[in-house]
Symmetry: C2
Subunit: 496 residues, 2 copies
């Protein structure tokens, strides 16, 4: 794999001086078009052998291009705010919005590679990460990002030569540290690992481009031209009329029309509680939840609760009964409404990632990332391909949370169509509940059956051991609230 | 001051039960209107004696109201990301956008009060903070925020009683810590300090409301009703046609029309450098800047450079020569264009605060917060009152940065009208510079004189010892770039 990058590529000074202005003009042109059109983001990874000139490459790119919409990210040691969230959170928060270029030094690959090479972690450990990165990059690509991964390569001989050269000059001597020489010693260990990583994670939508880095001119020109070509091609392909891709049929037996039996139908909506019983249980579970959220063990976890459900199923009321048991300083409720323009310029899940809680904290999502496979599916707000791939992306998202110790509770509050109608009518009549009823609620109601299908598919495909769905029979508000509280308590007790 | 809150206010259970539903309905109504209209944010401070029920009050508010647009912020110990920025950064990042309610526990007042009471800091120390808070809250108010500050008061006797009551019950015993009893001992020290703080910082636009907190019912109802009344009144006043306030004339002698002499006219635009001289100096200053940014001392500072100037004055080129000396991982260039909708929902300076660098890092603003007193003033994008108060707000902002060790360099790149014309024509002719010239540039040029006035006023009012303006004669690009680099180097050397 690296042999092709040890051919002694070099560009003489005269050629470089002729080529750079041309390349620069072309880069500025596409960059301008990219910034104006805001059609897609460009995610660049600059990785490779230490000493191969990653920093110089990025500095050169910044100098050639309009530095106002290219941003480089160091990604050194994570901050405490980053350490308290799932590992990928720090990359999500730095993702470039549409129309901009984000450059990641080393990137998400650095940490597991270092752990494998220097930290004694085995190949399986590394592979787990690689699988995750593959899915992450596929998601980025499917969200429209142009992902290019550069690996700057140098032979061991050239690397030694470069370090000696740097050491020989007064003005560059500082750049060579003891660690650099230690890395030369590690070279033979790194090489096969790097090869394996590149082989396994080079995909059509997020390829690795190995660049021979011994000659600065060659390296810079190659990286610059590759970016130019890729951005131009992507722009051109977007201009073409979308070819009608053969539609993959979405098949599902989760809502069986043969006998009408499905998870929602099979719930017992008659379950209820007397007021007395409710009050007793409410006090009991709120007390338990309060203790759990204050426990020392919880400080090493965080809790994400997510409420979906039929309109008027009582999400707000259930949420309030849960938060009443918590300290207002440590929970936050995030209502999911229309995305802001900053959110629209990012991959779909970005607006949820940004709200993940710190350790010891709780985030409650009132509606959630499941919007994509519910309202967006039913109303046709996104393409079929988009919501169909969302199941997998959502499972990845929740897996990342779970692996970091985030306890994920997902509730679907289910009521029957009759119960909904009577609640709508009650809302129309009651003063301070009036605002809760909108035109949209009535429209959604007309699509009841489509929502049933969507819910059945959703629970089938995304109820996992790490992040199970709890279907809550909510015709009785008392019953529903207690079931929610009890579920949260039991999940916390099981996980802490 | 606190005597009025030691009268033994109490609301009996029956009254409370009658009053709460009415208050709640009214609160939900105004909250709904607030959220729909998105006209202004509500900033609530819940402060007061420890043990007076701050947490319970906020929990009650959250329970009464729609918790989806009310967010409580604990503001415990700052994170490392927060510690690396000016003290107020952590509050700026949590400010509620228009249409939402943000609740700050203790808030910005806690830290200096604690330092004064427990940390041995004197009254002058506290006063410096209070002055800052006054200006901050005035800015919030002038940006349209409704600011309400609650001080929950309890007499020492009642406080002791409350702690004993809590200790006596199994389910609340955990809430009383050793620290709580220590604070009872500190009560007599706290009281006069609190009184002084409240007296000095209670203003018409951000009043302190002292609430007797011994009786939970009275406390909750009072806080709830006060909020209701204030939000309703604010809404009503916004609905009234704006009375034409007497316009304060803006007087300035910074651009004297008598003899045409002003800071811009008095610059020597003929200064230039030969290419040879430029190259030599460029290498010299870039080397120096590089060393400075890598120095150990710089890791305890950060650098904010800000570029304003005539169109085509060469801001981009000057910025690129500076960043060429820096490590791309540690600087970021923030071009200031139209605000996003998240930015529009916040006070004017919010979009700049969010980009302040961490320690050891550099943020370069390509155009800046001075937009308000330049383009917004000249084009009439904001009211006269808005840009006139901006000078003071900007000075406060820069003072906060400077006090935190942020080194602020501000450049105005000045060219003559003739030079600008020739550059515009050159841009029209040159390929990769075409995109730099817009219709707007020609329009701005027509207002040359108005911009001169604005620049003269700006430099006169905002060039401070902590954050001085550097006017850069930029008819010669070589001369300008070197002057910029030299200035940054010398500022860093003076500060480190």
């Amino acid at each position: 794999m690296f042999e092709a990058a040890e051919l002694g590529h070099a560009i003489d000074k005269a050629t470089y001086k002729t080529e750079v202005p041309k390349l620069r003009e072309a880069l500025l042109d596409v960059q301008f078009e990219l910034g104006e059109g805001k059609q897609f983001p460009v995610v660049l990874i600059i990785s490779g052998v230490d000493g191969a000139g990653k920093g110089e490459t990025v500095n050169t790119l910044n100098f050639w291009m309009d530095p106002r919409n290219i941003h480089a990210h160091a990604m050194g040691d994570p901050t405490d705010e980053e350490l308290e969230r799932p590992a990928m959170w720090r990359y999500w928060r730095k993702l470039p919005p549409k129309g901009e270029i984000g450059v990641f030094f080393g990137s998400w690959y650095s940490f597991p590679m270092r752990q494998h090479i220097e930290g004694g972690k085995d190949a399986d450990y590394l592979d787990t990460y690689l699988e995750e990165f593959l899915r992450f990059e596929r998601m980025l690509a499917e969200e429209g990002a142009l992902v290019l991964k550069f690996w700057l390569h140098m032979s061991k001989k050239d690397l030694k030569k470069r370090l000696k050269e740097l050491e020989s000059k007064k003005e560059t001597k500082w750049r060579v540290t003891k660690k650099d020489w230690e890395r030369v010693d590690m070279y033979d260990t790194l090489r096969p690992v790097a090869e394996r990583v590149l082989r396994r994670t080079s995909t059509g939508h997020a390829p690795w481009i190995v660049v021979e880095a011994s000659d600065d001119n060659y390296r810079n020109l190659t990286v610059g031209r590759t970016i130019l070509k890729a951005v131009k091609e992507r722009m051109a392909s977007l201009k073409k009329t979308k070819s009608k891709a053969a539609k993959t049929p979405f098949v599902s037996a989760s809502k069986d029309d043969l006998d009408g039996i499905n998870v929602l139908e099979s719930l017992d909506y008659t379950q209820t509680l007397t007021k007395k019983d409710y009050n007793k249980k409410l006090e009991h579970y709120q007390g338990r939840l309060n203790q759990l959220c204050r426990s020392k063990k919880f400080r090493k976890h965080s809790l994400v609760c997510m409420f979906e459900g039929n309109d008027a199923a009582g999400k707000g009321g259930a949420i309030r009964r849960a938060t009443a048991a918590m300290d207002a300083r440590f929970y936050d409720i995030v209502p999911i409404a229309a995305p802001t323009d900053e959110e629209k310029a990012q991959p779909y899940l970005w607006r949820f990632w940004r709200h993940l809680p710190r350790l010891g904290n709780v985030t409650i999502f009132d509606r959630s990332w499941y919007g994509r496979v519910l309202v967006e599916r039913v109303e046709g707000y996104c393409s079929d391909a988009d919501w169909q791939r969302a199941y997998g992306e959502i499972n990845d998202f929740e897996e990342e949370m779970a692996r970091h110790g985030v306890i994920v509770c997902k509730f679907w509050l289910a009521i029957t169509a009759e119960e909904q109608l009577s609640r709508f009518k009650e809302r129309e009549a009651t003063g301070y509940k009036r605002f809760k009823l909108t035109e949209e609620d009535w429209r959604n109601r007309d699509k009841w059956d489509e929502y049933v299908s969507a819910v059945c598919d959703m629970t089938e495909r995304t109820s996992t051991a790490m992040a199970p769905w709890t279907l809550v029979e909510a015709n009785s508000k008392y019953f529903a609230r207690i079931k929610v509280l009890k579920t949260i308590c039991e999940r916390l007790e099981a996980e802490l």
